[in-house]
Symmetry: C2
Amino acid sequence: MNSLLLLPGDGIGPEVTAESRRILDALALPGLAISEAPFGGASIDAHGVPLTAEAEAAALASTAVLMGAVGGPKWAGVSYDIRPEAGLLRLRTAMNVFANLRPARCFAALASASTLKPEVIEGLDLLFVRELVGGVYFGTPRGIETLPNGERRGFNTQSYTSSEIRRVGVTAFELAKLRAGRVCSVEKANVMESGVLWREEVTRLHAERYAEVELSHMYADNCAMQLVKAPRQFDVILTDNLFGDLLSDLAAMSTGSLGMLPSAALGEAGKPGLYEPIHGSAPDIAGQGLANPCASILSLAMALRYSLGAPEAADRVEAAVEAALNAGARTRDLGGTLSTRGMGDAILAKLGA
Amino acid sequence: MNSLLLLPGDGIGPEVTAESRRILDALALPGLAISEAPFGGASIDAHGVPLTAEAEAAALASTAVLMGAVGGPKWAGVSYDIRPEAGLLRLRTAMNVFANLRPARCFAALASASTLKPEVIEGLDLLFVRELVGGVYFGTPRGIETLPNGERRGFNTQSYTSSEIRRVGVTAFELAKLRAGRVCSVEKANVMESGVLWREEVTRLHAERYAEVELSHMYADNCAMQLVKAPRQFDVILTDNLFGDLLSDLAAMSTGSLGMLPSAALGEAGKPGLYEPIHGSAPDIAGQGLANPCASILSLAMALRYSLGAPEAADRVEAAVEAALNAGARTRDLGGTLSTRGMGDAILAKLGA
Ligand SMILES: CC(C)[C@H](C(=O)O)[C@@H](O)C(=O)O
Ligand SMILES: CC(C)[C@H](C(=O)O)[C@@H](O)C(=O)O
C-alpha cells in the first residue's frame, strides 16, 4: 500500500498543506494511507527537537513525504543543532534525496506579476536539478573555534565526490531527454577545485552516456546574470547545493509565480521522495489565510507523478490549478483577494469538473 | 609622487583601458606617474605566469592599480595554479584589498535597457561591500584527492575569522553613514557556521560602534529573490566573497547598465586600491571596438577619488560620462552604434567642456 506523510511544519506550512489534504481527499486514491507528523519549529515546541525519531522513521517508511515549510523568528534563539532548518537537513540526509527538482515556470496568466519585462519572462520553463545532500551544507570539518590569539574562526567544508556528482548528473541528463535536451552545468571552477571536479565529472558522464544531450558549462556568477538577462536560454540547470539554493530562488522569484512553484527531492529509485513548495514559511502572513496554496498543491502533483504512481491524478491536479488560474482565481500574492481556503475551493471546483 | 599602474589584461580589457588612459592624459594631473604591466592571459603568453613578480611589486609600490579584465577560452587548458584568474586572486591577496565596493546603479538614461520593469529598477543606487581576500576562494585545505576506493573528491574551505569580518564590516558601516545609513548583512547562518560567526560579529560591531546605522540580516537565497523583487529596498549590502560574487553580478546585470559599472577594492588606509570594471573580459567581442569603456572610465574615477586624492577630477570624469550619456552617446550594449573609441571621444568632449 502507498503511504503519504504530511509534514506541515511552520508559518504558512500548515495552511497550505491543509489545502493539499483537501485535494487528496477529493481525489480519493484507492489504497493510499495518509498520516501527519510535527516538523520543524512545531516539533521543537512539542518535542524539543525539529525532527523526532518517530517522524524520521515514518518518513523513511512512507512512499512520499509532502512538507509545508520550516523556520521562523520564534526559533531564532534555539541552539544550532536543533534549529528548525537542522530538522530539514537531517530529513534530506536520512531520505538521501540527492536530486532536487525545482521548476521555474512562468504561468501565462501570471506573467504580468513578474518584475521582469513580459518579453523576457513569458513562457519561461526551466528546471533546476540541485544537488541536495552534499556540498558545503554538510561537509566536515565545520564549526566555530577559538584561535590561540583569542579570535574566533567560523568554517565549513565544500566537498563533492565523483559519485555524488555523477548520480545527480544522471538525473539532470535523464530529465533533459524528456525536455528540450539541454543541460547547463554551473559551478565556479575558476576559483574552486570542487568546481573543477564537478565540471570534469559532468563532462565525462556526458561523453560516456548522454552524448545526445547538449551540455554547456557556466560560472555561477555569470549564471546569476544570465537568469536576469535572458532566462529562456536555459532548459535544465545542473548545480550544487549552495549555488542551487540561490540561483533557483532567484529564477523562481523572477517568474512572478513564487507562490505557485513546487519542488521534488528524489533519491534512489523506489525510495520515498520529499515534496515541498519553493516558498518559505512566510511568518509575517502566517495564520491569516493569506497564503497561496498552489505551490503545495503542485508539490502534491509532483508526488503523485514521481512517487505515488498516479500520473493521471497528477495531470488532473495540475490542470485544475491552471484552470482555476485561467478563470481568474487569485490569492493576494497574485494581486487577488482570495483566501488560502478560497483558492483551494476554486481548484477543487475545477478538479470535480 | 602618486603613481597609477595599468593592468589591461585580456579580452576587451586593453580596449577599455586605452580609453581610460586617454581620459587620464586629458586630465593631465600634475605629478602622476603612469605605467603599465602585462596581466592575466596576456602575461601567461609573454612570461608563462599570470602575474610576474615585477608586476606584483609594481602594484604594491603604486598608489592605485587600474585593471581591465582577465581570462578567456584561450587559457582554458593552462594548469590551475597559473590560470589567469589565479593571477587576479594573487594580486588581490598581495594587495590585501579586503573590501570590494561594487555599486549597482541604474543610470536614468539607460533604465529602459534593464530587463526589469522601469518601476522596479529606476533610480536604483545600491552598494555592495564584498569581502574579497577570504572565504572559500582562499580557504585551506583545498584540492582534489583520490580516495581509497578510487573515487575522487574535490574540496574547498569556507573560513572567516572575527577580524576578517570586522574590518570589512567597518567599511560597510562607514560607507553607509555617507549614504542612506542602512546596512543589510547577508549570509546563510541557517546552514553554515561561518555564517553564524559572520552574523554575530557584524551584530557586535554594530552595537559597539555604529548604532546610528540601521542593520538588518538576510539569508543569501532570500537576498537573491529580493534583488529581483524589490532591489530599491537596499542601501548597502555587506557580504562574503562568494555570495558577493553572485549577488553583485545579479544586481549589476539587473540595472541594464553592466557595461557602465565600476568597482573598487580597498585595503588598509594608505595602501594602494585596485580598480576594475564589474564586467568581464568578453572574449566574444574582444578586439572589435565594440566594448563599452564607461565601466573602466568610472573605475578610474573611483581611483581618483579613493586612492589618488583627486576628488574634483573624479567628479569631472563622472559628470562627463553622465553628460555624454544624456547627449545620447551609446555603445552597442546600450543599444547604440558608437565604437569603444567613439564613446571615449564623446566623454572626452564633455570633459573638455
Ligand atoms: C531552509 C533552508 C535550510 C533551505 C536550504 O537552504 O536548502 C531552503 O532555503 C531551501 O532552499 O529549501
Ligand atoms: C574572475 C573571477 C575570479 C572573479 C571572482 O570570482 O571574484 C570575478 O568573477 C569577479 O567577481 O571579480
